[in-house]
C-alpha cells in the first residue's frame, strides 16, 4: 500500500492508496490549524482503516513550496517514517501536484512564497518547462507570454484583479492527482528529502535521454552550449524547425547551423572534410568553432537543395551524450532575432516568442558565440569573431 502525505497547503492531509485506488483519506479540521500534527493524522488514518504500518511499502510526500514550517514537518515525518519502516520514499513539488489537477495543455502552476511573491512553474501537459519566483502579476504575465492558457493555484491568496489568462482556484490539490503525478521511486536506502523553497530546486535535472525523447517527438529544446544558450530541433522534423524560427521571431530560412558529436557524424551527412577542416578539427574541436563546408553529396534528405552547411562539435558533456543519441541537430542561439544571445534560461525565455518544449538547466553562460570560419573560400575567412581569438587561428588558416 501507498501512504501519501500533504502538508504544504491548506489543511494537512494523508491518504492510503492501493495502486491507483484511494482506500481512505483524512484531513485536519480547519479549526484545528494551529495544532496540526501530521503524525497524529497518519496514526488516525491507519487506525481507522485497520492498516498496519508494515503494509505500507511506499510513501509519497509533498515537498512544497508552501508553508515552510508545514512542509518541513511533513518532509521530516516522511523521511523518518521511511527510515524506520523501510518503505520506499519519493517526493513531488506542490506545483507538480497542482498541475496534475489542471488537465492537459500549457499550464502555469503558482504557489505563495516569501515576500508576497510566488514560486511558479510552467508545464506543457505533464512536462516541466521552467520555473521562477516573481510577484503574482509578473508570474501570470510571464506565463501568458510563454503560451500558458491558464494558471492554477490558491488564486484567492494572490488577489489578481484581472489576468490575460484563465485563473483556476485550487487549494489544496487532490489526492487523486497526487497518486497519478509522475514521479520516480528511488531504489535502495530511502533518500533524505528536503522542502522546495527556491525556483532552482524546482528545476529537475534533465538527462540527455529525456531531452532526446522530446526532440525525437518533434519538440524544441532550450539548452546550454559551451558558448551561449541554444534552441535545438531534429532536422527530420520540419514542424520543429519552423517553431525555432517562430520562437526567434525570424523569417524562416533553411540554413540553420548543425551540431554533431564528432567529425564522423559530419561526414555521414555529406559534409566535405578537407585537409583544412581536418587540421582545424584536430586543433580546436570539440570547441567553440563553427566551420562552413561544402556538401558532396548530400546524404540526408533534409540537406537537399543546399550546397553548404555550418557545423560545430560542442565541448559539452551533455550535448555530446545528446548528439550520440539523436545524431546531428539544428542548434541556433536562443535569442529573439536581432537581440543579444542569452546567458541563461530566464534571459532566453524572457525574449523568445513563446516557450520551448523543454528547458535544460545549466550554468550561467557568456554572450559570445562560436568563431565561424568559411572553409569553402580560399584562403578561408573568419566570417564571425567569437570565443577563439583570431591570432590563435592564424597559423592554421
Amino acid at each position: 500500500m501507498k501512504l501519501l502525505i500533504r502538508t504544504s497547503s491548506g489543511p494537512y492531509g494523508a491518504a492510503l492508496f492501493e495502486g491507483d485506488r484511494c482506500i481512505a483519506q483524512r484531513e485536519t479540521a480547519l479549526d484545528a490549524l494551529r495544532s496540526r500534527n501530521i503524525g497524529e493524522l497518519v496514526a488516525q488514518l491507519l487506525a481507522e482503516t485497520g492498516t498496519d504500518l508494515r503494509d505500507i511499502n511506499e510513501i509519497g510526500v509533498d515537498l512544497g513550496p508552501g508553508g515552510l514550517s508545514s512542509a518541513r514537518s511533513g518532509v521530516s515525518y516522511a523521511n523518518a517514517l521511511a527510515f524506520g519502516s523501510g518503505a520506499a520514499l519519493w517526493g513531488v513539488s506542490a506545483l507538480d501536484l497542482q498541475r496534475a489537477c489542471a488537465g492537459p495543455g500549457r499550464v502555469l502552476s503558482m504557489r505563495p512564497a516569501a515576500g508576497r511573491k510566488c514560486l511558479w512553474a510552467l508545464y506543457h501537459d505533464d512536462r516541466f518547462i521552467t520555473a521562477g519566483c516573481d510577484d503574482p502579476t509578473t508570474a501570470v504575465d510571464k506565463g501568458a507570454a510563454r503560451g500558458a492558457s491558464r494558471a492554477i493555484g490558491p488564486m484567492q491568496r494572490f488577489a489578481l484583479p484581472d489576468s490575460p489568462i484563465e485563473l483556476v482556484d485550487l487549494d489544496p490539490p487532490s489526492f487523486d492527482a497526487f497518486a497519478r503525478v509522475p514521479h520516480r521511486v528511488p531504489i535502495g536506502a530511502p533518500p533524505i528529502l528536503t522542502p522546495i523553497t527556491s525556483a532552482e530546486a524546482l528545476r529537475p535535472p534533465v538527462t540527455p535521454t529525456q531531452a532526446a525523447d522530446v526532440l525525437r517527438g518533434g519538440g524544441v529544446v532550450l539548452l546550454p552550449t559551451e558558448t551561449v544558450y541554444g534552441l535545438a530541433a531534429m532536422p527530420t522534423h520540419p514542424g520543429a524547425v519552423e517553431r525555432i524560427f517562430a520562437l526567434k521571431a525570424r523569417p524562416a530560412q533553411k540554413a540553420l547551423p548543425i551540431m554533431v558529436a564528432d567529425l564522423d557524424q559530419a561526414r555521414d551527412i555529406g559534409a566535405q572534410i578537407t585537409p583544412l577542416v581536418t587540421r582545424l578539427n584536430a586543433q580546436f574541436c570539440p570547441g567553440p568553432l563553427s566551420l562552413v563546408v561544402g556538401i558532396e553529396p548530400a546524404r540526408a534528405p533534409w540537406l537537399h537543395e543546399r550546397d553548404e552547411l555550418a557545423f560545430r562539435i560542442p565541448d559539452d558533456a551533455f550535448l555530446q551524450a545528446l548528439l550520440r543519441e539523436t545524431g546531428p541537430l539544428f542548434v541556433t542561439s536562443a535569442n529573439r532575432s536581432g537581440a543579444d544571445p542569452a546567458p541563461d534560461i530566464e534571459a532566453a525565455l524572457a525574449q523568445l516568442n513563446g516557450a520551448p518544449d523543454l528547458a535544460v538547466p545549466g550554468p550561467q553562460r557568456g554572450t559570445q558565440p562560436s568563431t565561424l570560419i568559411n572553409c569553402r573560400l580560399s584562403p578561408p575567412v573568419i566570417e564571425r569573431a567569437g570565443m577563439i581569438p583570431p591570432d590563435q587561428l592564424a597559423e592554421f588558416l
Partner: protein, 330 residues
C-alpha cells in the same frame, strides 16, 4: 533488555541524538554543530538551521543506532525537545521522533529543553545535592532558580533582555572573533587584564539580569578607544559578567541556604565561570555541581535523561512544539 531512551535535540543550532539509561549512563551521543552554516551571518539563521537539522538528523540517528548494532528492541521510548527553541528546528525533531516512534512502535515523549539542562549535572554518574540554587546560563537563557528536589523548580529571576550567551556572541563579533563567541572570548580574556571599567547592570537589586547595556558599553569603549587591546576588552567584559552573576548567586545562597550550587547551560563550559563557582561554593561551604563540560552545551543525552523523569512519573505526553515553552512547564 529494554534499558535505553533515545534522545533527540534540535532546538537551536546543534543536531544531537543520544542513547541514555535510567541512571544517566550515556551509551552514545552524537552531535552535529552547525557553526560553519551560520558563520557568514554572525548568528544562528533560523531557516538554514532547520534545513541543516533536516539533512543531519537521520544520519546522526543511524550513527547512534550503530552503537547498539541497530537493536532497537533495547529502546523503551524516544524523548524529543519540544521547546523552547526555534520553531522550524523544533518541528524537525518532533516530527522525526513521532515517525520513528510510529515505525518502531515506541512511545514518544515531548521534553522541555530546560529540564534537560537541569538534569545535565546527573549525566555520566554525577550526583546532586538538594535543595540547590541553580544558575542556567546559555545562549537562550540566563536565570537563577531554587530547586527543592529534582523537578521542583522556583524561578527567582531571569534576564530582561539579552541572555549572557548572546552578549558573549555579540561582543565576540565586535572584537572580530569567530563563532561560537563564548570560547573565543574566554580564550582571549585569559590573555588580558580587566583594566577597563564597565558597568555591572542590576548587580545590587534582586535576581534579574540585564546584559544589553553591558554589551552597548563595550561598543562605546571600542569606539572611544579603537587602540584598546582586544584581550583587555574581553577580560574586562568577562569580569563584569562574572561579577553580576556572583552577586545574584551570593544573594540566593544567603536567602535559601541550599546544600549545593548547580550551574547548567552552554556558558557553564566557560573556564572562568567554573573557577568562580568553585570559589563561591567554597566560600559558602556548600557543594558545587557543574555538568561535565561535554554535557554543558545543548545535547541529546540530557534530553534523554529528562525523558526518563517523564516516563517514571507517567506524564501524559505533549508533542506540540512550543518556541516559548516556560522554564517550569513539562
Amino acid at each position: 533488555m529494554t534499558d535505553l531512551i533515545l534522545g533527540i535535540e534540535t532546538s537551536c543550532d546543534d543536531t544531537s541524538v543520544a542513547l541514555v539509561s535510567r541512571d544517566g549512563t550515556v551509551l552514545a551521543c552524537e552531535t552535529r554543530a552547525q557553526y560553519s552554516v551560520h558563520a557568514a551571518y554572525g548568528g544562528v539563521f533560523p531557516e538554514l538551521a532547520s534545513r541543516a537539522h533536516l539533512e543531519a538528523i537521520l544520519p546522526v540517528v543511524q550513527e547512534v543506532l550503530q552503537r547498539i548494532d541497530g537493536d532497537i528492541s533495547r529502546i523503551c521510548a524516544i524523548g524529543v525537545t519540544r521547546g523552547p527553541g526555534l520553531i522550524g528546528s523544533l518541528l524537525v525533531g518532533v516530527n522525526t521522533a513521532q515517525a520513528l516512534g510510529a515505525a518502531w512502535g515506541k512511545p514518544v515523549i515531548g521534553v522541555n529543553h530546560l529540564r534537560g539542562h537541569l538534569r545535565s549535572p546527573a549525566l555520566d554518574g554525577q550526583s546532586e545535592l538538594f535543595p540547590a540554587v541553580l544558575l542556567l546560563a546559555s545562549g537562550g537563557h540566563t536565570l537563577v532558580a531554587h530547586q527543592a528536589a529534582p523537578g521542583q523548580i522556583e524561578v527567582l529571576g531571569s534576564t530582561r533582555d539579552d541572555s549572557i550567551g548572546e552578549s558573549y556572541d555579540k561582543v565576540a563579533r565586535m572584537l572580530g572573533l569567530g563563532m561560537p563567541g563564548g570560547p573565543a572570548i574566554d580564550a582571549l580574556a585569559a590573555q588580558g587584564e580587566a583594566r577597563y571599567r564597565l558597568p555591572r547592570p542590576m548587580k545590587n537589586e534582586g535576581y534579574e539580569f540585564s546584559f544589553s547595556g553591558l554589551k552597548s558599553s563595550v561598543a562605546r569603549l571600542l569606539e572611544r578607544e579603537p587602540e584598546a587591546a582586544p584581550a583587555d576588552v574581553a577580560a574586562s567584559f568577562v569580569a563584569a559578567c562574572l561579577d553580576v552573576i556572583r552577586a545574584k548567586l551570593d544573594r540566593a545562597i544567603e536567602a535559601r541556604a541550599p546544600r549545593s550550587v548547580v550551574v547548567v547551560g552552554g556558558v557553564s563550559a566557560s573556564a572562568q565561570l567554573r573557577d568562580m563557582i568553585t570559589e563561591l561554593a567554597a566560600h559558602h561551604g556548600i557543594a558545587a555541581s557543574l555538568p561535565p563540560r561535554a554535557w554543558a552545551t545543548d545535547n541529546a543525552a540530557m534530553i534523554a535523561l529528562a525523558a526518563w523523569d517523564y516516563l517514571d512519573q507517567g506524564m501524559e505526553t505533549d508533542l506540540r512544539a512550543r518556541p516559548n515553552l516556560a522554564f517550569d512547564a513539562w
